[in-house]
Symmetry: C3
Subunit: 329 residues, 3 copies
């Protein structure tokens, strides 16, 4: 594997999920695979689960980790080619990416969307520009439009909790939230479930359609109750509107999932966290037997570790030797 | 040991201090005890000594350390059960604690008091809620009302500098400070000295009484000079008032300790640092032969290491195996 | 080596550069030299290259690294002796330095100038006070007036790209910048090139003269085009004025270096990064064959590693034993 930005880089998603489950059963089996390799983690936005689970996964593989909170510990980066940099951005991403690639064997990047300009967000400007100017594998820690490490952990969690021969019925259900949130987790969840061959229904209010590039093949509905009534897995997630882009259009509390929505005792509910209790989901559901949210969070370690294994395997032996430095320059 | 929140978790304080002194003499003797174990350090407030000494102690034991500045690198946590989370707190501590416990074998937490609501502070809401929802040992890095790692280091320091058969005379003396400070260090010092069986005098202005749960057995005075005149150890510390809670009531510079207060050459003075020179203590005292403050700071490493040894010994072998993940969920 | 604050600590600069190049060819040859030694990195200002390259260098030597963003994760330090600390500075550098020295075997410090008071900046108050009160080697990660790790990496880069028997012609050329910047990189570059025995020309507008303590022996000119026309290496750097100190006096875009300034194809251009593209340098130059800026950034690892090797060699065997703690106190 040479990069991990979306399901398209995953090959067979179920094979990756299988590897993650093997690592969960034997975390230290590749304890020296990453020795003398450095993972750089570049955060432009806050992170709890991604930050900790990815560090832990890297340590299981013997990697060194360097965390950099770019805006707090460094400065803002210019992403536009040809810019005259006389404003508040101290360094061009072309320069920073090439430098960081000299210090790291793999670089993970978290870069949220601005939610102002849909075209810019969906062009994935930051992570694509970083990748263009760096020479090492780039790993998404959640980009403007996708969160593939989360989706792989979600797939692992579904597979751990589904033992019937037929595919499970999966529903992605929009939820209210006081703030406008990215569409990344919803986009990625949709594309991963569809890639895994699971029938997917997406329930959301008017105006909250997701980009069809992620959802083609899914059934779309505006009726939460009907959608979730016979679901095997319900994934709750808030996201902001597609049009007008990045806005909060709906505050209807009827979209908060409660036990009353789930007639089937076997329905499992999922959420990537952090979750607004009492707004997106009821406290009761989160703490009750339907919930898989802690299992998902735990599986973040094994998803990250599976990806790091594949990325490490994809490094050539010469990748950290001094000659590469000269070759780059 | 299953948690370390107060002297009540210490068993025999002098035995712990003895272990700390053994580790100081041989820092690497347990260099593999913590191998493949992860210590998470969660800071809600600034830290210098605690941050560095605890990391160093963990490395002496072969542990991996993940530091998380929760408010800067993550977001604010809701601690109230049943809250409707439509405000500025992005995640409930119930969810965050359960997640972090999946990534760490031991979690250290620093959470200062708000100094607005005494009942809430003295309920130790943050650290207690975190512990309630996590499944791993919790280690206080200073909570709203206690700082037990500091007190253990203080006990070690006293024992290193006291060789007489009788118990030393110990005085805890309030000092002025431009800001309202927590009562945590003073509370903990009092309960540790009393638990160690040392006679303790507490000198403070009117209105600065500490909670009797920490001080019962100590002699209380409002006269600094008399209290310290024949002391063996004087612990200087500023704290804010009990009533009205969290206020600065006294700015009397007569409470700043100077050489003139110490007729006995053998009296040793202590402070947990950071100290306001020229306000709490004179420069001369801090840099002179009375001062033990640097010894205290150095002993923070060995205090933390002693506690980590006991917490690691208390882990069951299964604690990091995957099966625990399922058990939790 | 007992400290690394300027070229005066380097001994023979070319011998250090030679060591750096050896380490580049064999990064792990001293992989256990720093085992059980701790490098503390104390940042008072943002950092990307220095932060990551120094961590990486330390790991190549088996050292543990503790990073501390002092102002964000700790608090502001008072540097004035005898201050009455009733303001916004929570701890005196005398106390903090002595404490940190107990937790670390070597301490790196980044402390930029305030650019308000030239005498204070040029007294190097912060790093000198820290060093005065600590007992371990101090390593500059860029101080108020010097950046010696950068200069050593620059010297390595020049030597890698110069194979003629005579010394290269080196030019340090001032460049425009929207903000007032420290003089540190320019000062250090000048003193290192002169110490290495290279003829140096410095081109800058009126009012931008550097302190003669760094530049004596260099030729000074106010004409960019003539200075760079036959240069072998052109080092571009913006700095603020000497008089009135710390101000931006010149915004003449004619000082931005472009391809038109470089008639010789063999002229190499250098910059320490971060660079303002389109302001200090044209995009074309940075991405074209003249540029060595990425080579410089890569060499930061080997420069830092060479210095750490020398500092580690300078540690006595007793330096981390408990007895030193007592000796200190």
């Amino acid at each position: 594997m040479k990069q991990f930005l979306s399901v398209a880089d995953a090959g067979d998603p179920s094979a990756l999920a299988h590897l993650a489950r093997q690592l969960k059963a034997a975390p230290w089996v590749h304890a020296s695979l990453g020795q003398r390799k450095t993972l750089g983690l570049l955060f432009l936005n806050p992170s709890l689960r991604t930050r900790m689970s990815t560090q832990k996964a890297a340590r299981h593989l013997g990697m060194d980790v360097m965390v950099m909170n770019m805006d707090q510990e460094g400065w803002r980066l210019e992403t536009q080619d040809g810019a005259v940099m006389d404003g508040d951005k101290a360094e061009h991403i072309a320069d920073a990416a090439a430098v960081i690639a000299q210090y790291c064997d793999i670089v993970g990047i978290r870069a949220f969307p601005g939610l102002q300009d849909r075209a810019a967000d969906y062009a994935e400007t930051f992570i694509r520009q970083f990748q263009r100017y760096s020479s090492v594998p780039v790993l998404s820690l959640e980009s403007a439009t996708r969160h593939p490490l989360q989706s792989l952990a979600d797939l692992v969690t579904v597979q751990e909790h589904w033992h019937a021969p037929q595919a499970p019925k999966v529903v992605l259900a929009w939820a209210p939230h006081p703030r406008a949130l990215p569409q990344a987790v919803a986009n990625s969840f949709a594309e991963w479930m569809l890639a895994a061959g699971y029938p997917l229904t997406i329930a959301h209010p008017q105006g909250y359609a997701l980009d069809p590039q992620f959802t083609t093949g899914a059934q779309i509905t505006h009726h939460l109750r009907e959608a979730v009534a016979d679901a095997d897995f319900v994934y709750i997630k808030s996201w902001s509107a597609w049009e007008p882009y990045g806005q909060v259009l709906c505050r209807d509390t009827g979209w908060m999932l409660t036990e009353a929505h789930l007639p089937k005792a076997s329905t499992r509910i999922m959420h990537c966290l952090p979750v607004r209790r009492g707004v997106e989901l009821s406290h009761e559901l989160l703490e009750g037997p339907h919930a898989l949210v802690q299992a998902q969070a735990g599986n973040r370690v094994w998803a990250a570790q599976a990806i790091l294994v594949r990325l490490l395997e994809g490094l050539t032996n010469e990748s950290t030797s001094p000659s590469v430095y000269s070759a780059k320059l």
